[in-house]
């Protein structure tokens, strides 16, 4: 799938790299024991270290290091046994130390790969450049008072992983798939909750354009802190179009930092390179280098769960799903688990169709996540079982599912209460078939005259007469037998 911008001078393609900031799932901050829970009252999760009181010192949270290594392993990446925290120096009111402690020249994780599941069922490898750990800043609140800015330091010092992709992405869709896949991986790993609404994941979006066929890397712009997949895609569309227009009208693109204004759907220049900060990085003398042994890395590797790519392959190999269905189902850990549960003891393909079709549709309409589904995996499994043993037809099942979704009742109860069991008694069906044939001599003549398609009309009449409960296969067989006489 190529994303081409047709300009006046020719076709352009877009080159995208993402820097994703993912909050490490951890009870405590990166260098202090403060809690990290989202939504706490301002400045209630702040230690002396987080507030940068005089004489306070950072102490690395070993659990965060393990989480970063685990993420690196999940990205099939190089784990660096020696990594170094540096200070990135700049003043801002919500940065109490006057510097951010971040890994820079020597990150904990090197090159890795994220596999994109393309809509046509194929896959594409996107390179990971590096992953490093860093502290989050506090928050400046400009809207609490007309004249003053308030500072909330709850986030100050929270552990982040910055995951940097190579410039391998070529369309807004690629970028969307990449972020969703990355989110799936960290959620499978339990190293980040991936919750973009709460700021647990956000991205800096690097965009440049070039004429199709060229392999140059032109000047890029970086749009900071974009906090949804939709916005990331919009930034790319907007930025690519703006850059093409600039080039075609003879302007240059300057390397700069831009901000995304979601309300106006546009990016604005924040500062250009010439006004860029000189961060004066140097190794933080308060901290020792992070040194890992091969054994420690192997111990962490043993804790890795099955990851989406592996689950997908298993769904294809063992359950016979199509790559597309398998890709859709593993995109989210809860969905994959829900599906596996529901499919257990049932036909996997039917289960896949029900999860990606009826269930997703209903959840979507209701605006619910799969974790909040009123129909549990068990309940869906039971419904699939009722279809499999011919207790109800697929058509009836759709109605039963809607009822289940609405009321939370079990499939068996609904079928029983509403008397929806399929009529499989051939005697009862035969009576209905006979009645329809006797009452409609014209249609019988039509069918017998060679109009094979008329059989559908007869089936419909019999189903109508039986309230939709007749086993369609039996109805068909009986009709063909009787009409042939």
């Amino acid at each position: 799938m190529s994303y081409i911008i047709e300009g006046e001078t020719g076709d352009w393609e877009v080159v995208i790299g993402l820097e994703v900031h993912a909050q490490i799932t951890s009870q405590a901050k990166l260098f202090s024991g403060s809690a990290t829970a989202f939504g706490a009252a301002p400045n209630t999760q702040v230690s002396l270290v987080d507030a940068a009181m005089p004489g306070m010192l950072p102490v690395i949270n070993e659990y965060c290091v393990q989480q970063a290594v685990k993420t690196g392993l999940g990205l099939k990446a190089q784990i660096n046994l020696h990594s170094v925290f540096e200070r990135k120096n700049y003043f801002y009111a919500d940065r109490p130390q006057g510097y951010q402690i971040a890994q820079y020249a020597e990150p904990i994780v090197g090159e890795g790969t994220v596999v994109l599941d393309m809509p046509d069922g194929s896959t594409r490898d996107i390179g990971i450049e590096r992953l490093h750990m860093e502290q989050d800043a506090g928050k400046s609140l400009h809207d609490q008072d007309p004249k003053r800015t308030f500072i909330d330091l709850n986030r100050s010092g929270v552990a982040l992983m910055e995951i940097v992709s190579k410039p391998d992405l070529r369309s807004p869709e690629d970028a969307g798939l990449f972020v969703r896949k990355l989110r799936a991986i960290v959620r499978y790993l339990g190293t980040c909750d991936g919750n973009m609404e709460e700021g647990s994941m956000r991205a800096d979006v690097n965009v440049s354009v070039r004429p199709v066929g060229s392999d140059e890397l032109r000047t890029r712009t970086e749009t900071k802190n974009v906090n949804s997949v939709r916005f990331i895609m919009q930034v790319i569309e907007h930025e690519a179009a703006r850059q093409v227009e600039a080039y075609e009208s003879g302007e240059e693109i300057v390397q700069e930092t831009r901000l995304y204004d979601a309300a106006r759907n546009e990016t604005r220049s924040m500062r250009s390179k010439e006004f860029a900060h000189d961060y004066r990085y140097f190794p933080d003398p308060d901290l020792l280098a992070v040194v890992l042994s091969e054994d420690e890395v192997e111990t962490i590797r043993k804790t890795l769960p099955e990851l989406p790519d592996e689950t997908k392959q298993r769904f294809i190999d063992e359950l016979g799903l199509t790559p597309y269905d398998a890709g859709v189902l593993v995109a989210d850990k809860e969905t994959a688990e829900f599906f596996e549960h529901a499919a257990s003891g049932n036909d996997a393909k039917t289960a896949a169709n029900w999860v990606t079709g009826n269930l997703f549709g209903a959840l979507n309409t209701a605006g619910l996540a799969i974790a909040d589904s009123p129909v549990s995996a068990d309940a869906l499994s039971q419904l699939l079982g009722l279809m499999a043993d011919d207790t109800i037809s697929g058509r009836i099942a759709k109605g039963v599912f809607e009822d289940m979704f609405e009321t939370g009742r079990s499939a068996k109860d609904i079928v029983k209460d509403k008397g929806l069991e399929q009529i499989t008694d051939s005697g009862e069906i035969e009576t209905a078939v006979d009645a329809v044939i006797t009452e409609n001599p014209d249609q019988v003549a039509d069918f017998q005259g060679g109009n094979e398609k008329a059989i559908g009309w007869f089936v419909g009449q019999v189903m109508k007469a039986t309230g939709g409960k007749a086993n369609p296969k039996l109805v068909n067989e009986l009709l063909r037998k009787k009409l042939a006489q």
């Binding site: 005089p54 004489g55 306070m56 102490v59 200070r87 801002y92």
Partner: protein
């Protein structure tokens, strides 16, 4: 001055144990000395009430037979760089106006836990940046020793208040911090013992940071034995400081008096400076003879990169300081000078809050870390640091300790060298190399110059070999028999 203020820590401990006097009597005598010597400007904050209350607690412990150790009931002075719970902590800077920490530094907590009694917070160079205690926002500290014609002299720095207090018999011991010589050089200038332990021996938690990779707390006392006693109460692993060494604390007084027979002492040939007074060279030679007379073997060694230590130090220390001092921004504590915008507020607050020397070092540090200069300065200085550590490692393959002068001069007059920062920086030329290598070192008073001012000798030992350092220092102290006292303290 009473007899009680002339006691050493070891002597006072004996008197307390024998019941000759109480901790409250001992403390009261020192509080009176503190009040009587206010013209030295050695203290920024006096804490007599805290001192008396802790002395009372100490007496109660002693009465119930629950004495905490050698420091129990001993009055001490605390450099105002250590954060003390509920007591104003200034770092001698305007920018920390009114800052009263709700926490206690590990070192002062350790001393409290050992029963020590805090008399007050001593004056220092602003943020410990200086070698004469003239950069304090609270004014210069006077050396109790006076120059020709009664001229006021500097006590050295940055732990000048602590050194003056101990020399003037206001406290038998004080704590200081040493980044490039800030304990040892003032000890030399005031005729007392100043000791910097191995980097990592004393926790930096709760100590206002100057240069994190160099800062170490240490004791200032009037005897080597007292320094060993005090260090024992201060040091130990602290999980709150990542650079704290996970090592047991030995008994630093063990083997103190065992002598130096068979000890190999290195005399580094590079420790001379053009224009250095002949008296210092002579004292250095004398020190060598004293040690040899006691059976030590002195050999000349070479530390070839010594001359690069001071310039490298003045890159590394300001670089770290420029970043460490970024937190003083007027947002959360201390001085805030209003501005039109956030940047204005930063500029106004930091411009007004920091003194000239601090501003100079922040600028130097910012410069050497900036893009395009980082490799030429900071990286190169770190390489020099590695070479210096290598010099020492090699020398210590052959010798147990090194003997050098502490400083290239005796105390000078207040006001001198003020307009020449480089001349001022040269004060640390002999103390900085051990700091750069993180080694334990001690200065002890060994003689007087022609003007009757004290001069120190300096010993350096292997990492975490403080026991040998104290043993050599004790032997030297014994031979020197230094018993001169500043005019101000009879």
């Amino acid at each position: 001055m009473s007899a009680l203020t002339n006691l050493t820590i070891a002597g006072a401990e004996k008197g307390l144990a024998a019941g000759d006097f109480s901790a409250q009597e001992l403390t009261t005598a020192h509080i009176e000395a503190m009040e009587a010597a206010r013209d030295l400007n050695a203290f920024i904050t006096e804490t007599p009430d805290i001192a008396l209350s802790r002395a009372k607690d100490s007496d109660a412990r002693r009465a119930s037979g629950a004495v905490l150790g050698a420091m129990d009931g001993i009055p001490i002075a605390v450099k105002d760089l250590f954060c003390t719970d509920g007591v104003l902590t200034t770092a001698a800077s305007h920018i920390l106006d009114g800052f009263t920490p709700p926490y206690e530094s590990t070192i002062t907590q350790n001393l409290r836990d050992a029963g020590a009694v805090m008399l007050g917070k001593t004056n220092l160079d602003e943020f410990a940046m200086g070698s004469a205690n003239v950069t304090s926002y609270y004014g210069p500290v006077k050396n109790p020793w006076t120059g020709k014609g009664g001229k006021d002299l500097v006590p050295g720095g940055s732990s000048g208040g602590s050194a003056s207090a101990v020399a003037a018999r206001i406290a038998p011991g004080a704590i200081g911090t040493d980044t490039g010589g800030s304990i040892r050089q003032p000890a030399s200038f005031t005729g007392i013992v100043g000791m910097k332990p191995t980097y990592g021996r004393c926790s930096r938690w709760g100590v206002v940071a100057f240069a994190s990779s160099l800062d170490q707390a240490g004791p200032l006392t009037r005897t080597v034995e007292d320094a060993a006693l005090m260090l024992g109460a201060m040091s130990g692993f602290d999980a709150k400081d990542s650079t704290s060494a996970p090592m047991d604390v030995p008994d630093f007084t063990a083997g103190l008096k065992d002598g130096v027979r068979g000890l190999k002492v290195g005399i580094p040939r590079e420790y001379t400076l053009d224009g250095m007074p002949a008296e210092i060279d002579a004292l250095w030679a004398q020190g060598r003879e004293w040690l040899e007379a006691q059976g030590a073997q002195c050999v000349e060694v070479s530390l070839p990169h010594t001359k690069y230590a001071l310039p490298a130090y003045y890159i590394v220390a300001p670089a770290e300081a420029s970043s460490n001092l970024a937190r003083y921004d007027g947002v959360r504590y201390g001085l805030r000078v209003a501005g039109e915008s956030l940047d204005d507020m930063y500029e106004a607050t930091r411009g007004e809050g920091f003194g000239e020397e601090v501003r100079r070092r922040v600028l130097i540090g910012t410069y050497v870390l900036s893009a395009g200069y980082y490799d030429a300065y900071y990286i190169k200085a770190q390489r020099v640091r590695t070479l210096i550590a290598g010099d020492f490692r090699k020398a210590f393959e052959d010798v147990d300790v090194l003997l050098t002068p502490t400083a290239p001069s005796a105390a000078f007059a207040i006001g001198e060298k003020m307009d020449d920062p480089v001349a001022m920086y040269l004060n640390d030329v002999f103390t900085v190399p051990a700091s750069m290598a993180g080694l334990p070192a001690i200065s002890l008073p060994a003689g007087l110059d022609g003007d009757g001012l004290p001069l120190g000798l300096h010993l350096i030992a292997k990492p975490f070999d403080e026991v040998t350092l104290f043993r050599a220092a004790f032997a030297l102290e014994d031979a020197a028999g230094f018993d001169a006292r500043p005019g101000g303290a009879s």
